[in-house]
Amino acid sequence: MTFINYASREINCKIVYYGPGLCGKTTNLQYIYDATAPTAKGKLISLATETDRTLFFDFMPLELGTVRGFKTRFHLYTVPGQVFYDASRKLILKGVDGVVFVADSQEERMDANVESLYNLEENLSANGYDLSKIPYVLQLNKRDLPNVLPVDEMLAELKRNGEPTHEAVASNGAGVFDTLKSVAKQVLTELRKS
């Protein structure tokens, strides 16, 4: 849910990175954090277990610049990917303005992708959203690994409507900003429509 502050001339939006466990959601955020100028970002908060698995969420505020005199600030969140953290995932989707689904391109993770995407649709619906109607981007991550599925095959399983898709290698930043730009653009376009 967008927060528009006319007094301080700010627009705040919430973007959530969703996907199965170990697909690279936190790595996406970490890359954005590392590659952004200190003036444009806040702290990266990571609520993780001792083994660095996301326990509740990762969070970072990112300021993109000014549009029509309004500062645009995006709050980026990730969800915990492991199946048993479903209650937490549902909570984090509350008030979301845009979603990035990070799919793991490795062949053996395809079932996990499908299950997680189904779970996303279910949890969005529980919060009153429809995946086909909100700003949404599909990212095919880990394209550098040897055992990846062909893009066409992944899209046939995972693509829902006409959502933008991006191939990525989050660990070296390939496709990370393209994905962010893609979802941020849709969120702002949606704001214009409303």
Binding site: M1, I4, N5, K43, F56, P61, L91, G95, A184, R192
Partner: protein
């Protein structure tokens, strides 16, 4: 207070039925305060409560999925309410966050405090405890307190927003709770007004953002 609960499986039939219940309850007491939760397509009654306040002073913060739009005048009123709360309660920091973690306003010793992170964590905290509440059959836990050795935090849920107060040993939890309760009424009225203005904003065709062009959006990323 009369509370009515509906299970997830039970859909409330219609607004007419809701009106009948309100009418019936009004015969019992004229001080009926109705809180509604509006989703995109239906209205679900959450609670019917007999309010100690007269009709003119009643206010409720409706839960909607609409954006919060803050105007200059209401923002100044909001700062005034928060500042009064801060002074009356001898607290260090007072800030207001929406339930999704967006910071709305912050007052006090905030120079060395990362209020953006605190806002998202406070919202996460409330969301997590709210989830626990529902698991044990409660609607939510309306207040949360965390006591530290030196500083403590008190969080109060007011409709769609969270009032967060950070205080130290110059104050006490009892005083904070009392002052927060008083400020909550003013905040509820203010957010009711914002909700009304947001509805007007939706109806008006002069949306500022309608003028945003593709070039404006592209320029953010160049």
């Amino acid at each position: 207070m009369l509370q009515c609960f509906w299970s997830d499986e039970t859909r409330f039939p219609s607004l007419n039925s809701l009106a009948s219940i309100v009418e019936l309850a009004s015969q019992v007491s004229s001080n009926l305060h109705l809180v509604l939760q509006r989703t995109s397509s239906e209205i679900t009654p959450l609670e019917l409560a007999f309010s100690p306040y007269p009709a003119s002073e009643r206010a409720c913060v409706r839960m909607t999925d609409t954006p919060i739009i803050m105007h200059e005048q209401q923002f100044q009123q909001l700062r005034h309410i928060l500042n009064k709360l801060r002074l009356d309660s001898f607290s260090r920091v007072v800030f207001l966050v929406d339930k999704n973690g967006q910071q709305i306003a912050a007052l006090g010793d905030i120079a060395e405090l990362d209020t953006t992170s605190l806002a998202s964590l406070a919202a996460g905290n409330v969301a997590a405890t709210g989830g626990m509440a529902q698991l044990i059959g409660e609607k939510e836990f309306p207040t949360l307190s965390h006591e530290g050795e030196r500083d403590s935090i008190h969080i109060c849920i007011i409709g769609r927003v969270l009032l967060v107060v950070v205080f130290d040993d110059r104050s006490s939890l009892g005083l904070i709770k009392l002052r927060v309760k008083q400020a909550s009424r003013d905040l509820a009225l203010l957010f009711d007004e914002l909700e009304r203005l947001a509805a007007q904003h939706r109806d008006s065709e002069e949306s500022l953002f309608a003028e945003i062009t593709d070039d404006d959006i592209d320029s953010l990323f160049n």
